[in-house]
Symmetry: C3
Subunit: 130 residues, 3 copies
């Protein structure tokens, strides 16, 4: 699964894509691993509600802010904050599959969070089970 983001930070609900992979795999009992292949992205399960997404964006910036003076920037990069945001929320989740369907709670949606966009990014979706 590939992303081409226009902005620096973006948040995408990818639950339907995860469900499609689970259905194609024909797994009755098992799981789907949803794992960003980048170190400046996050994957989480939370609510699909625009106000909350705005709160999360502000909160992430407060705990892992953009700064000029990260040591990592001596390499020429400017995305030190994106690495820290990735560590804060994690880059992967497991979605259980039960009776052939994603076994999610009523408000649980799978999100891909881009912290250093405007580059091509990939998320690995891997179904396991029987």
């Amino acid at each position: 699964m590939t992303f081409d983001t226009r902005r620096k930070r973006e948040y995408h609900d990818i639950t339907d894509e995860v469900a499609a992979v689970a259905a194609r795999a024909g797994i009755a009992e098992g799981m789907v691993l949803v794992s960003a292949m980048h170190i400046t992205s996050g994957v989480w399960i939370n609510d699909h509600e625009d106000g909350l997404i705005a709160d999360i964006d502000v909160w992430l910036e407060s705990l892992a802010p953009y700064r000029d003076d990260y040591r990592h920037h001596d390499t020429g990069e400017t995305n030190g904050d994106a690495h820290l945001k990735n560590l804060l929320v994690g880059h992967q989740v497991i979605v259980p599959i039960t009776a052939g369907r994603l076994d999610l709670g009523p408000w649980q949606r799978v999100y891909y969070a881009e912290f250093d966009g405007q580059r091509k990014k990939r998320v690995l979706l891997k179904a396991m089970g029987e």
Copy 2:
């Protein structure tokens, strides 16, 4: 597995319940996925020590505090902080099973953390392996 919490925030050691699920599944080598089905709860592995639990509670409130003015509250909810606490600590862990038993370190205990209690909550326990 279902919780009915009396207080807003509560912390429960659920290691014995996880072990019972692993035993019932009769799995020799594999894992148990322990995953909250809510977006205002956490699941982690850490020490069963009351002082530490108190420290964690204070720490979570300092990094993801209750506030009146979260955008999410425009929906009528008041639990924005609980969503952020969930993102901070995560909502799932994998407990490995080796030789038919949970393969945990000496001080590792599985915890369910309720951040928005006084509602019925569920934790999914799913054993996989052979």
Copy 3:
């Protein structure tokens, strides 16, 4: 896998060891669970770049600082901060295996983070799949 760290906090790239376990297991499609068996250690996937590691170390100390007055220290321990750092970054990751190799993005490396060193520590590496 065992660690004997000389300093209080240390960060080790263990990707090659994870790859070796996957190769020995002879798994074509599956995953390796990389899970610290301690509650004062972290495991993550991020960049192998010394400046970034220094940034992460400073950042973790700012969000989960050493303090004298943690309640946990009433037990005689002095490592309350290490427990909180563990909760912040997590203690386990799943590395997918595809076509017999670790399926990592170009900059993804598996790290073991020691937050309370100068003791013997263990990381569990468990391959699953077929």
